[in-house]
Amino acid sequence: MIAATEPTTTWYLLLSALLFVIGMVGVMIRRNPLVMFMCIELMLNAVNLSFVSLAPRVANIDGQTAVFFVLVVAAAEVVVGLGIIVSIMRGRIHATVDDVAELKG
């Protein structure tokens, strides 16, 4: 009875696909660079979730190790990305990604 209600790997993978698609649509429709960054985090999390749900299926811990490295690289990526956003958007209140076109020399 309990086993029947427990979510299976297929459900975890479907949830992860849905999360990934939401992040993807978010990157495409939002124009605030910060929110786009958050959507990239969403996509990374979706992939992490699928890694973790597939790791026991192959009886191997390597999937969880990969998630660990993804977490570290995501942290570094966020730090650098936010630094770039801060240095570009400083002093501009209503910043959108279109303002980056001003970099064109």
């Binding site: 495409m28 490295f69 570290v72």
Partner: protein
């Protein structure tokens, strides 16, 4: 709950609300990690993502002063949103089809196998430690250098350069 948070990230017009929705999603994913016996990753997820990264986001939002609602109604490119939605639905359909058709065999093959013994709650952490510091110790060191480079690069990027050449904070 996870999906609610994710939708909140892309639909709330206020960036602060979007960041808080992101916290909801990240906690939800951490709970799913625990449900799959990945205790170490759940802890790291809460500490690094929900703790550090979202706080960083909120700091930048406050620093830039963009914590006002963005005008979400205007559509700069015509038909951008419908196209994005159509593309999203299409990608999800392809992914779902691939998952449904392929996981049956994978799940059946993996039946009865488990990474960690359920009786020992520390087994997961022990196995991950053996994997990271044994098989992947070189990648671990490279990642630490990457973090160092990211920190130094960010400091260089964000500090202001004065005209007279002196560097000020």
């Amino acid at each position: 709950m996870v999906l609610l948070g994710a939708l909140g990230v892309i639909l709330r017009s206020n960036p602060v609300h979007a960041a808080l929705s992101l916290v909801l999603t990240l906690f939800g994913v951490a709970v799913l990690f625990v449900a799959q016996d990945a205790h170490f990753l759940a802890a790291v997820q809460v500490i690094v993502y929900a703790g550090a990264i979202v706080v960083l986001f909120l700091f930048v939002i406050m620093l830039l002063g963009v914590d006002k609602a963005e005008d979400i109604k205007t559509e700069p490119l015509t038909a951008q949103r419908p196209l994005a939605l159509v593309l999203g639905v299409g990608v999800f359909a392809v992914l779902a089809a691939a998952i449904v058709t392929s996981t049956e065999s994978v799940v059946r093959r993996g039946e009865g196998l488990s990474v960690t013994e359920a009786s020992d709650p520390d087994a997961n952490i022990r196995q991950i430690a053996r994997s990271i510091f044994g098989d992947y110790v070189f990648a671990f060191e490279v990642v630490s250098i990457l973090l160092l480079v990211a920190v130094v690069g960010t400091v260089l990027l964000t500090r202001r350069q004065r005209r007279d050449g002196m560097v000020s904070k």
